[in-house]
């Protein structure tokens, strides 16, 4: 086989693994960036944090929010809830950033799997 083609095909294997590992990292990030509270499931998004922050700014202490399954869930202390959401969001986003950054430096299939 032409050396140039051989090299490109070998690199394509690496790219497949790289893209797959990135996808799996993202799935893990989405899985972990969730707040389970009072039997409800809230994916922690910028939109949710903004909305809860708005309620807190308007001096609201409790609220009924629809969770990911459209189940109404009572949140008794909105300010605490907002703090928890932000903790979950930033902890997981930082972890995701570190792993994503780490994976960029790995130049072999074998090392990609250690992230």
């Amino acid at each position: 086989m032409d050396k140039r083609l051989e090299k490109a095909l070998e690199f394509s294997k690496y790219m497949t693994t790289l893209n797959n590992q990135r996808r799996l990292l993202h799935e893990k990030y989405l899985e972990n960036t969730v707040h389970y509270i009072n039997g409800g499931k809230f994916s922690v998004t910028k939109e949710l944090m903004n909305f809860v922050n708005l309620l807190v700014q308007h001096k609201q202490e409790t609220a009924i929010l629809l969770d990911d399954n459209n189940t109404p869930i009572e949140i008794e202390e909105l300010e605490t809830f907002l703090t928890e959401l932000m903790d979950i969001y930033f902890n997981n986003t930082n972890d995701y950033y570190n792993s994503y950054d780490d994976i960029k430096t790995k130049r072999s299939v074998e090392r990609l799997l250690d992230v």
Partner: protein, 284 residues
Amino acid sequence: MTKGVLLFASNNPQVDYIKQAIYCAKRIKQFLNLPVAIATPNGDYLTNQFPFYKSYIDKIINIEATNSNQVRRFRDGVYSEKRLEWNNLSRADCYELTPFDQTIVMDTDYLICNSHLKTVFNTKEHIMLYKDYIDVGYNRTNTGLDMVSDKSIPMYWATVFYFDKSPMSQMFFNLVKHIKENWNFYRLTYQISQGNYRNDFAFSIAIHIINGFEKREWPKTLPGKMYLTVDYDVLYEAYDNTFKFLIDNTMSGNYSAASIKDCNIHIMNKFSLGRHIDREFENE
């Protein structure tokens, strides 16, 4: 309210589901810290062969050995396959068998790697399970795991599910039993070509019936996500909650590598899982 995990294990001549169950229970203890019960016709084998089981399994429920008369293909990667007996008929009895008020049932080849599932006990739902899954394989579209059959209904997974002791749950499992007893009728109605009874299919059909033969949002999905590898894939290394696989993306022997960490995973290649467990049990 008592809470716990119920496992089912029925050995065939080549796959040691009891060994898998003890390893599964070990991980349940580590990440969920819940009592574990095992329903099995192989209780003597369990106690004699694995004397350390008491560290991980809290209760043995002896069930009668049934001859399912079912044979299916078990692969160990793309190059090795065996046709073996498949005993999977007890799952529908979980409502009567469970010693817990709130129960998670899981396959013994489902490995717990985080504590997400523990939050299920706070729910007001009576039954929860997964419909969606994350394939560790890359862009693999030909696994046939999304639908019960090409033109019928979406597949729900009986691999791991939650239920409570409510009339709703009882009705659901009674319906699953009815489907099991009339499997040929239901499999033909839902255009399932394979003759073997499969819990995933029976659960999916029961959900479709209870939903008034429509696609609805019941039942809700379990906390966390279910990752899976198929039996064409090979688990080749595991450490520190990291699992490394050879993944057959095209299911034709064209392998690439993938790994996951801290994610609950359903490993369908029982043989490579068995080899991993043997290494893990060396120090027990």
